[in-house]
Symmetry: C2
Subunit: 627 residues, 2 copies
């Protein structure tokens, strides 16, 4: 239907006859002797014209062109000509050529559009745009995002393939794994109540592939989680999944670093430095109050043991430079609210905020740690001077804000109150121009040495659950602790963090069937049926499974970073809305009673099932007992 696309044509084509196809826009009848139409295709635009003196059958072409509705699909034939010098005929047309049209065919008429995707000024709300996703996807920003996603995906595949990884598809029709987040079920006609479940990750299959002797596996895999949706979660998501045999943590990290260097180079032409920085979980949570810290800026948390007389608690201080001077109390409300709600979540026992001014601090209520510390100071030094010294220790100056927090020394949360305050404060300071957080800087960071097991704060029995998933191997030095004090065992897990966002996570796995069984049975104390459901994996470990490890990177998030998108919905062709619905095709839809009956099911009044929450990402979500 066409010989060229709009963007392919240039001065070298002047004088040639070409056929183009595209959308008509900006139809302008300048006079009885001149008509202009802009033609748009997926690659660019071209100015079409019919001119009385030069167009054969001008009257007919003019009649056709001037009656084209906007966004009507046309096929045109004509001759490429040079535009007159200085002609500003086409808005946004800076090219030196135009097409003298002598044949116009309407390929498909367009009704008036629900909205104009080429006008950024009057875009409707997101739900309307999602309902007409085929229009929204015409927006240059989404066109660019989806095309960049394709480039990034191909760059990943080229690198993995050329590095000797075997691309292996694993089943989407899997089974429910009791340890993990809520999974979508897929009823079958195989037996009463028999359901497949959609996989949260190919974790078990890739471990079986290691046992099968494919020692370098990768896959770009669709994964699923039936969680309550948030701004940056989708019920289906895509991950770059890989696994290797006979490797250490460092081998896998090196592959990922090289992979990302390749992808950044191919997609953005950017060079990123490797090896990436490494930081222990303990350091990340102490210094930044988060296991996925944004390290593009400081605002570090300082331990303040002098404020605490109790070895069971950790007291910490965060100073926001200029925070008191720059912001009104109202502007600071999000910070104080966050501090308060984190406190309510049990993440910290107490938080106080102080404005520092001229060596003194405001907000010294009687019960604050600071006030108690001052009151306890019964030495020769004057109270004012002691306070000044203390503020110096924290680096707090006049005009700063000072947050004080206390938390249990026995449970290390992935996010602390001060970590949350730090993130919010950084945003406020950046918006006010008081803190530089360069958007084009990519601070990759490996966070390592997570505790292998986590004692849930609210579990009365004090049971442990796997911090990431129950297949993660202990740090070798800690192996003896597995049998004596498992809560102190560090795992060979590593999260990849970029600018405060968790891009992925992986681990060296347990390959010894006895260790795996010990973890299931003695440490996690799985119910017998749950343990039995992992039987095939333990069997595979015992039949010659090599030591192995791997990682999974969130592709949606990776592409969002590459394209500078704030929402994952802007890098997915057909995302689900926050409600879980696909507004473009109206999914989900009610199943009929007959359809359900084929699967031995019927609809009932929905019970009040407690919604479950799951904070962590990576390869398999954090297990929770009792679900």
């Amino acid at each position: 239907m066409r010989t060229h696309t709009c963007s392919e044509l240039g001065a070298q084509h002047i004088g040639q006859r070409v056929d183009l196809c595209g959308w008509a826009q900006n139809i302008r009848v300048l006079s009885d002797t001149l008509v202009f139409v802009q033609l748009r295709d997926a690659y660019g635009t071209m100015q079409l014209l019919a001119e009385h003196s030069r167009t054969a059958g001008f009257a007919e072409q003019k009649r056709l062109l001037e009656r084209l509705g906007s966004d009507t699909l046309v096929g045109v034939s004509g001759t490429v000509v040079r535009r007159p010098d200085g002609a500003a005929r086409g808005k946004g047309e800076s090219r030196e050529i135009e097409l003298l049209v002598d044949h116009v065919r309407v390929l498909n008429r367009a009704l008036p559009l629900p909205f104009n995707p080429h006008s950024t000024a009057n875009l409707p709300g997101e739900d309307t745009r999602l309902a007409h996703r085929y229009l929204d996807l015409r927006r240059p920003e989404l066109q660019r995002n989806i095309r960049m996603r394709s480039q990034a995906t191909m760059a990943v595949r080229r690198f993995m393939h050329d590095s000797g990884f075997v691309d292996i598809e694993t089943p989407v029709l899997f089974k429910s794994t009791p340890e993990g987040a809520r999974e979508f079920l897929v009823p079958t006609r195989i037996g009463p109540g028999a359901c497949y479940a959609l996989p949260q990750s190919p974790q078990q299959f890739k471990q079986l592939l290691m046992a099968a002797g494919f020692d370098r596996y990768f896959q770009i895999a669709r994964c699923f989680r039936d969680e309550d949706l948030r701004a940056d979660r989708q019920p289906e998501f895509t991950q770059v999944d890989l696994e290797m045999s006979f490797v250490s943590k460092g081998d896998i990290q090196r592959v990922v670093e090289q992979l990302l260097q390749h992808v950044w180079g191919m997609v953005n032409g950017m060079r990123i430095e490797a090896p990436f920085r490494r930081m222990s979980f303990a350091e990340a949570t102490s210094r930044f109050g988060s296991d996925k810290p944004d390290t593009r800026f400081g605002l570090e948390i300082t331990p303040a043991p002098q404020l605490s007389g109790d070895s069971d608690t950790v007291t910490e201080v965060l100073v926001i430079p200029g925070g008191a001077a720059a912001f009104s109390t109202k502007e600071l409300a999000p910070l104080t609210d966050t501090a308060r709600s984190s406190q309510a979540n049990g993440e910290s026992k107490l938080t106080s905020m102080h404005k520092v001014r001229d060596g003194d601090v405001a907000g010294l209520g009687r019960s604050t740690l600071l006030a108690r510390w001052l009151a306890a100071g019964a030495g020769p030094q004057a109270s004012g001077s002691r306070l000044t010294d203390l503020l110096d220790t924290f680096g707090a100056r006049s005009g700063d804000l000072l947050f004080v927090s206390e938390r249990s020394a026995h449970v290390t949360p992935a996010n602390t109150t001060l970590g949350r305050v730090r993130s919010l404060a950084a945003g406020l300071l950046r918006d006010r121009g008081l803190l530089a957080i360069p958007a084009d800087r990519f601070d990759f960071l490996w966070v390592e040495e997570f505790p292998l097991f986590t004692r849930e704060a609210d579990d009365a029995c004090g049971r442990l659950s796997a911090t990431h998933h129950p297949f993660t191997a202990p740090v070798e030095d800690d192996l003896p602790l597995l049998y004596t004090d498992p809560a102190r065992v560090r795992g060979q897990h590593y999260d990849l963090v970029l600018n405060g966002v968790e891009l992925g996570g992986g681990s060296i796995r347990v390959h010894d069937p006895d260790v795996q069984q010990h973890i299931f049975h003695e440490v996690l104390r799985l119910a017998p049926d749950v343990e039995a459901s992992f039987g095939h994996l333990v069997a595979a470990l015992g039949h010659g499974c090599p030591p192995h490890g791997g990682i999974a990177l969130g592709l949606d998030r990776l592409v969002a970073v590459l394209t500078g998108s704030t929402s994952l919905r802007d890098v997915i062709a057909f995302p689900k809305a926050a409600s879980g619905r696909d507004l473009s095709v109206h999914a989900p839809a009610p199943a009929t009673a007959d359809q359900l009956a084929e699967y031995g099911l019927q609809a009932v009044r929905k019970g009040a099932g407690a919604a479950s929450e799951n904070e962590r990402g990576a390869e398999m979500p954090r297990p929770a007992h009792g679900r």
Copy 2:
């Protein structure tokens, strides 16, 4: 853990120290001074030895090596040495090097294996092998298949990417489309009975992408069908899916031909000829009795209008050269059974089989067409001579088999009785060495000009259903017939057939919303709710959707052809067994009442839902009304 893999090492490494990892096998203690072990990894094998005179700490290494169980995972360090000339130490070891080991580490012990994947002699049945798929996948044949699949997939991606196609992921959580095969449902917590459905193909999404202006889309997409399983069907399968705007049938066929040339070249180093042969549906079914004929051999069907006095019927003859002479009646039973069962299915009204001998035919029962034709011949010519002339017309000679069939002239089935007999007979003749069907010949064939609609033979109302899917465009010349005699309209559909196997199918789509609505409403007479469920697609066509078309190729089948596998299960890492179960991970599994209750569902005694059958493959299965 290792510096090399087994296959990387060669004579150029002699004298170097290397570290290897792999499975120990063939442990042989030849004397007090010599131990051999074969080490296997994913890429090859290496002979390890410890020799008293050359190995430091020989006693320790010998002790370790001789106690390794078979398939124990080990890491070894040592020096590459030249093997003594003529040494036949390692079975299957033809290499000139071996590894003089001075350090052995056990990485993982192996329990006795359920079966030995390296012995082809004693393989257990398929279900046992599927249950231990991680072992079965160690078999060289499956290793090769899965690795070739990865190569083929990458070859597809490289070609598509380099040809300017954009790789776009479409949702797996879709909705039920009433026109099509049975789909898996995915219950949600969004509303009472609200279910996603798993897509049979990305058909609707790729059409929406054309409306969105991505004019060259491709995806390697997982698709799903809840059908009763057969030898070569899986509930989840993978297809190479593509769609283009502003194209004709020929443009898409050219892309596919170039794609397959590229894949065959990259994977098999084979050159395949293009353009592929083209044949109309009418010709394929007339000459070969199938819309996916194996054209590597003749055995063509001949029309025999002289045997029929009725313009409502088509009478056809198939001659099997030497069929009577070569086979006993018992050996021919499958042919006659097939003829009979096809007849029972209404595909043919009557079939007779005759053995030709010396100008005469056996099996001339009174009611056969041939007998009636002979009886009706009241002319001057003797009956024997008339028969001889007729046999000559059909090319039937003494020793041949002659099948006669009669079918309705108004319904053209995709497979005729004689087509089925032809396929079976070809297999018998080939096995007897009477017919050459070269396994290494790839007879690609485009079958085209299918009827756009099919009148179901058993539908009393005479309603039409879409032969492929309701989005296929009519052949342009036939467009007027759409409004007058839709049963005669040919569709712009094309199937890609290879050696009698349907590799895929595609079509030019309807892009005019009025035509699409006419097909839904007037031709297919869809129920209002069904028609409404396609509303978003009609809207997209009406908002500036370019003319477009595409195709889907079955990747599993493509790889089966490339690897010469007879079963799709041999090219899928974790296939479902014929029962629909994944025996390796025990999926599906019973859902608990609590799990179902979260989705507002409960199990009931399963109703006697009629199992539905669906014969056709390609992008979307043939719709059937009333389901």
